[in-house]
């Protein structure tokens, strides 16, 4: 896995976050691999659903994001960082 791939996934995720929560909030937070969906972005659960749907639609069935999430308990989902999702997408490829 080369760095350009990782940079592209990160850019995709950052775009999805902006689409879900609105640019005005997301622009106030620098989105990198260490950004927490909960602590930094403060995504609501319903927003995280919208984000997950965008990830699923963009990467297709080869990236079974929703099933992966369902294997995590709620605390683990809340603690997820952008880098965790990037790594998951990389592993699926």
């Amino acid at each position: 896995m080369t760095d350009p791939d990782r940079a592209q996934i990160l850019a995709d995720l950052a775009r999805f976050v902006r689409e879900v929560v609105g640019a005005s909030w997301a622009d106030a937070v620098e989105i990198d691999l260490d950004t927490s969906f909960s602590d930094d972005l403060e995504l609501e659960s319903i927003e995280f659903v919208a984000l997950a749907e965008k990830v699923q639609a963009h990467y297709g069935e080869g990236v079974d994001f929703v099933t992966w999430l369902s294997d995590l308990d709620l605390d683990a989902i809340i603690a997820l960082r952008v880098g965790d999702v990037v790594e998951f997408i990389e592993r699926c490829r």
Partner: protein
């Protein structure tokens, strides 16, 4: 996420999986389809067409000023099923007020329901006490009085502010609380006419437990089970809930 035109209302709706249809119905005030999305929905989606939606006024659905009584919420469900071309009998899973919507649907459409999973359904709808907080407090106080498991994920400012804003809209600018308070009790003789298998799943420390005991007694084919925690089962006991519901629907 797609907004589906259900009658004259746009409802936020999600579908996953294929198979016999199961509709998951959240409760009022604090609920949204997210409570299922991260718990039982992906498990059921292995063998079912799972339909999730946000009730009117909730999640990402439209927020009309009125129509939070069981009849109108039932009309919304009918319109949604029609918009999605669901014509065969459905399994229904509901939590709290959503479980009453499921019961109401079964009473209205005999033959239209295969099985019911009722999670912490309050009966009579207005007398369970779980809405007292909302009736007597500000949205801020309501949030401050939530169980720790619901409050912890909202520790930051943005989420709490958004939840308080939504609750303030629902309690201050819609008829939701009046509609719930006016909702009459269901009739035991009517309930006895529901002949499909029913799972009554209740939190061990929930104030709604007597309603579960009543439903288990009155319904002709009901099983009562409990899971740890209180009324907010999808948040307080997601794993036991998922196991019980999937076992009931797939077992």
């Amino acid at each position: 996420m797609p907004l589906i035109d259900a009658g004259d209302l746009r409802l936020n709706t999600l579908q996953m999986g294929e198979g016999t249809p199961v509709v998951l119905i959240h409760g009022v005030l604090l609920g949204s389809l997210a409570q299922w999305y991260f718990t039982v929905a992906p498990v059921l989606a292995r063998t079912h067409r799972v339909i999730l939606y946000d009730l009117r006024g909730h999640g990402r659905s439209e927020v009309p000023a009125a129509g939070y009584d069981l009849r109108t919420l039932g009309d919304d469900l009918d319109a949604l099923l029609s918009a999605l071309d669901v014509t065969e009998p459905v399994d229904l899973v509901g939590h709290s007020y959503g479980a009453l919507i499921a019961l109401h649907h079964a009473l209205r459409h005999p033959g239209g329901v295969r099985r019911l999973a009722l999670i912490d359904a309050p009966l009579p709808p207005a007398a369970a006490g779980i809405f007292d907080d909302a009736l007597s407090r500000s949205a801020e106080a309501l949030v401050a009085n939530l169980p720790e498991s619901l409050r912890a994920p909202m520790a930051g400012g943005r989420r709490a502010a958004r939840l308080i804003g939504r609750l303030a809209t629902l309690t201050g600018e819609t008829t939701l609380l009046e509609d719930v308070a006016r909702e009459p009790d269901l009739d035991d003789a009517d309930l006895a006419g529901i002949d499909v298998p029913v799972l009554c799943l209740y939190g061990e420390t929930s104030r709604c437990r007597p309603a579960g005991e009543r439903l288990a007694r009155v319904l002709s084919d009901a099983t009562l089970r409990t899971v740890p925690g209180g009324h907010f089962v999808p948040v307080e006991a997601p794993a036991p809930m998922t196991a019980a519901v999937s076992e009931f629907l797939d077992g």
